[in-house]
């Protein structure tokens, strides 16, 4: 028992006191069969060892637990995504009604409803106007009564913004009295900015009548790139965690083997030692399971402050499905035990030590290459088949292909390290020591590094995907955002109102120029007796001579005049004297009565000032003054205004929006002033970096453990080397090289694999393959940082092991 005790309880008291309670290991003759009871007993014994192993034992157990906890937390988070999206979409579905196919007649239970969304300094604000028809209007979730006229209910986040000094401009825009706060049921997330206000003037066409809240249609599926991104994130997050769980249950393996040898000496058989070892791993992983649950519960509190892809949710939304949670609780500890048993294959614990009856592994290349090759084979056809469509088969192929490619990296790394290190010769002493060490056993180092490799490869691939997607947006926004210009459009309420709007905008702070008109789509008159040939195919703009002059060079102009523009490819239908249909059907089977209008024969040609397509241009076929054409006869006439502003004026955009809202709250805006993608991209990128850094740090911790463990094993040798007058720097450098070599090779492999995967993914979304070198450099930098981190933290134990105490024979 003394042997047993000295290993199980290194520092005295506790281990010693426990010893009598540890049952003597039953001899193989006592219980010849292996029943579940023996399993349980041996597992329990292993767990006791893990728990009672003194300070060092606890550190190892804690590290295993930390690794498993992280993995469990990530798994729980991942499995929460479907439920999260369900509840998120569920609340959106419950509070919305985008219009009913057959608009109900006004009644006591109907309400006019309109969407008046706006943006405030880049933050989207969801606004809804209501105007009840009777005493019992429908009420969306989170609200007890609809607000009275001129009053509004706001989300807590919006209330906070309005109450803050920063919200002063917004208070002008949302000119309603705050009558209350919307409850959580009516919000997508705690950060959502939303309000519901009652407007006394809301009318058709801006407001539509509904008799209930809750829409029946399902949200459109996420766009392909986003799905790709989500799948890849899950894969890239899971892989290092799986690698880390695999590594962390092996922490302290050598020490454990020695303890098991001691157990063999007092009569345990081989199978029993395996079960006990599994028990030890199980203990750590059960602790990790509990820790992961705590981490998850604690971490989800941050859900309220995180907004990813416009999704912000309540902490309670982040909950895994019961089946997924049960699977995680069951599979993670099982995996820990399996990894332990796997690590022990080919290792026989004999009473006097460890016998590795496995011949030194000849690292074969072919199956290591097969993994990434199969992965690539799965992915390449997807890249050809453009654009990427989100079918279950594609999803599986993508996930499987990426996983195989990333797994291939972990499989290739040991071979690569062996192949490279085996060819290295000579060099200075520290280099020689490191190289020889790696030649003899590179296993533990490579195992830890493969985690880094997967994390970095995954991060690079995701990052490339993001950058590629982002580059598309950035390009588009750069094009439109060049002009300091804002577009406003809304349903037309007649020329006088439009003119008031133009005047008001001209009087707004920071505005340099305003152009605008009422426009509508026109088409040819339907021929009698024949089906309507085609729908609308030309645009007419209506405005005063003064306003039209801002759009085109007119020459002389009086109210009542009409002009044809010099727009290229103008339809032949648009000609002086021709009769056209102002109420042109927007779809071929649109059953609308034609509103014929004769283009005056006097119509002259005008040259558009900024013809063409794109922001800042006008593509009108026909210009008419208000007296020449009654805008009410147009099919859905729209007011369209373009406002140039001075970038130097602070909040010019917000002032413009305020003016627009004052004239007509249902006015929409199109602009490139706030690029929502930039913000999302930045947060995702930051998250990616933080995630990569944490993973790498964790793996660094694992590397430190294995390095220190290895140093401890050879403290006698280190003391001898110190006696020989070996400089500390020499050994320090050898530790550095020993960490550097596998990490550098791993990072190299990760770069190659990450770039390849990233390129494949980018071609799937039909995007140009762009390598974001600074980001790649940053990832590599983090990897380099890990090397330094490991080396620096390994130095104090190294100095300690070099002390002459190691020379003592006892």
């Amino acid at each position: 028992m003394s042997l047993l005790r000295s290993h199980a309880g290194t520092d005295g008291g506790r281990g010693g006191e426990r010893a009598p309670t540890v049952p003597a290991p039953p001899g193989p003759l006592a219980t010849p069969h292996t029943g579940p009871a023996r399993w349980a007993r041996d597992l329990a014994m292993g767990m006791r060892f893990a728990a009672g192993g003194g300070r060092e034992g606890w550190i190892r157990t804690a590290l295993t637990a930390a690794g498993v906890a992280l993995g469990v937390a990530v798994l729980l988070l991942g499995s929460s995504v479907p439920t999260l999206m369900n509840s998120w979409h569920g609340r959106e579905k419950a509070r919305e009604n985008l219009g009913q196919a057959h608009e109900p007649r006004p009644a006591g239970n109907t309400v006019r409803y309109a969407s008046v969304d706006t943006t405030f300094r880049g933050a989207p604000i969801r606004g809804r106007l209501v105007r009840p028809d009777g005493a019992h209007p429908p009420i969306p979730p989170g609200i007890r009564h609809l607000p009275g006229p001129g009053r509004m209910l706001v989300s807590p986040a919006l209330k906070e913004l309005l109450d803050s000094p920063e919200g002063a401009l917004l208070r002008d825009r949302l000119d309603y009295t705050v009558a209350g706060v919307i409850g959580d049921d009516g919000l997508l997330g705690p950060q959502e900015l939303t309000y519901v206000a009652q407007s006394a003037t809301l009318a058709a066409p801006d407001g539509y009548r509904i008799d209930h809240f809750g829409k029946s249609w399902d949200p459109p599926p996420m766009r392909a790139p986003v799905v790709l991104l989500v799948i890849m994130t899950c894969v890239a997050l899971m892989m290092p965690v799986m690698v880390f769980i695999g590594t962390s249950v092996r922490f302290g393996n050598e020490r454990r083997e020695r303890r098991l040898a001691a157990l063999r000496l007092v009569g345990a058989d081989v199978r029993m030692t395996r079960r006990i070892a599994s028990g030890e791993a199980l203990f750590g992983s059960l602790l990790g399971l509990a820790g992961g649950a705590v981490l998850f519960l604690g971490g989800r509190q941050f859900a309220s402050v995180i907004t990813l892809w416009d999704v912000n949710v309540f902490p309670s939304d982040v909950a895994p499905g019961p089946l997924a949670a049960a699977l995680i609780a069951l599979l993670v500890p099982t995996a820990a035990v399996l990894v332990t048993l796997f690590a022990q294959r080919g290792v026989t614990v004999e009473p006097l030590g460890i016998v590795r009856n496995r011949p030194p592994i000849r690292r074969r290349l072919w199956w290591r290459l097969a993994l990434p090759a199969v992965g690539t084979l799965l992915l390449v056809p997807l890249a050809w088949q453009r654009p990427w469509t989100d079918t279950p088969l594609n999803t599986i192929r993508l996930a499987a292909g990426s996983m195989l490619l990333l797994f291939g990296v972990t499989a290739l790394l040991p071979w690569l390290v062996d192949a490279v290190v085996g060819r290295l010769r000579g060099g200075p002493v520290p280099w020689q020591l490191a190289v020889r060490r790696l030649q003899l056993s590179s296993g533990s180092a490579t195992r830890a590094v493969s985690g880094i490799t997967v994390a970095v490869a995954g991060a690079i691939a995701i990052h490339m995907l993001l950058t590629g997607m982002q580059a598309g947006y950035t390009h588009a926004y750069a094009q439109s955002g060049k002009l300091p210009q804002l577009g406003l459009w809304g349903t037309s309420k007649g020329w006088p109102q439009t003119q008031r709007a133009l005047a008001a905008l001209r009087g707004t702070t920071g505005v340099t120029a305003v152009r605008g008109a009422i426009d509508g789509l026109v088409g040819p008159m339907p021929l009698a007796g024949r089906a309507p040939a085609r729908g609308a195919r030309a645009t007419v703009a209506v405005g005063s001579c003064a306003e039209l002059r801002r759009l085109a060079r007119l020459g002389s102009c009086r109210d009542g005049d009409t002009f044809l523009t010099d727009i290229p490819d103008r339809d032949r239908v648009i000609a002086p004297g021709a009769t056209i249909d102002l109420n042109a059907p927007l779809a071929e089977d649109d059953p609308v009565a034609p509103h014929p209008w004769k283009i005056p024969g006097t119509a002259r040609t005008a040259r558009l000032i900024a013809p063409g397509h794109g922001p800042g241009t006008f593509s009108y076929d026909l210009l008419a003054t208000p007296s020449a054409l009654d805008t009410n006869r147009l099919n859905g006439p729209m007011t369209e205004i373009k406002v140039d502003f001075d970038r130097a004026t602070p909040d010019a955009v917000e002032h413009i929006r305020n003016t627009a809202a004052r004239i007509d709250p249902s006015m929409n805006e199109f602009s490139a002033v706030d690029n929502p993608h930039t913000q999302q991209y930045t947060s995702v990128r930051n998250g990616l970096f933080v995630g990569a850094a944490i993973t790498l740090l964790l793996i660094g911790a694992g590397l430190i453990i294995s390095t220190v463990e290895q140093l401890y094993e050879r403290r006698r040798l280190l003391s001898t080397l110190d006696a020989y007058g070996t400089r500390r720097a020499t050994l320090g450098w050898s530790v550095l090289w020993q960490t550097t070599l596998p990490v550098v090779l791993g990072l190299g492999l990760a770069l190659g694999c990450g770039l390849a995967l990233g390129s494949l993914l980018l071609s799937m979304i039909d995007s140009a393959v762009i390598v974001d070198w600074p980001a790649v450099a940053a990832m590599t930098g983090i990897g380099g940082g890990v090397i330094l981190f490991v080396t620096v933290l390994s130095l104090p134990p190294l100095w300690r092991m070099m002390r002459p105490e190691g020379l003592r024979t006892e």
């Binding site: 020689q432 020591l433 006698r716 007058g725």
Partner: protein, 229 residues
Amino acid sequence: MTPEGSLLAAEGLYKSYGVTPALDGAEFSIHPGEVVAVMGPSGSGKSTLLHCLAGIISPDSGTVRYGPHTLTGMSDAQRSALRRTEFGFVFQFGQLVPELTCLENVALPLRLNGTKRKQAEQQAREWMERLEVESVHGQRPGEISGGQGQRIAVARALATRPRVIFADEPTGALDSLNGERVLTLLTNAARDTNAAVVLVTHEARVAAYSDREIVVRDGKVKDMLAGLI
């Protein structure tokens, strides 16, 4: 009492670990080419004396002189440099770097001194021949016998042509025959190079290879030669 012409001498050495004194006013001296056995029961302070003499640890008080140098006043780096260039070491076991080949192990102290690899390995090979272990030069320490390993260790200790060789139970892990062989080779080589050997042992048969012995008991040194005269 530093005897005339001594190479390494110590006086009044005190060293304690916690409250127990390991050395309690120990004295020592050795001449070039002399083999001195340090004897005494376990825990008497033999190894501590060796560590102090070799400058591996600093005594709490007392002085250690090596030629014109006073080890006890030197910095850690200076003592390391001295050990690298002037001293050689043989321990009981676990002193060879398991990853390096035997040849590289023998060449290691030379390389630590800055000798070029080729040259260091050439010299190492000569020492291995002399200690009759040339045949295992390409093997790693794990692949050779204990006796061969100790001879590699002796070759390594001798490779830098040290003035003093410190051997702490060098044959403790060997059988009698291998032990004798190692001791014969060690003492012969030391005499040939006029190096002094401090040989810590508790075995009389090993001590018989010395020119004289001292006995450490309770941290005090008894010089039997002085006692006899």
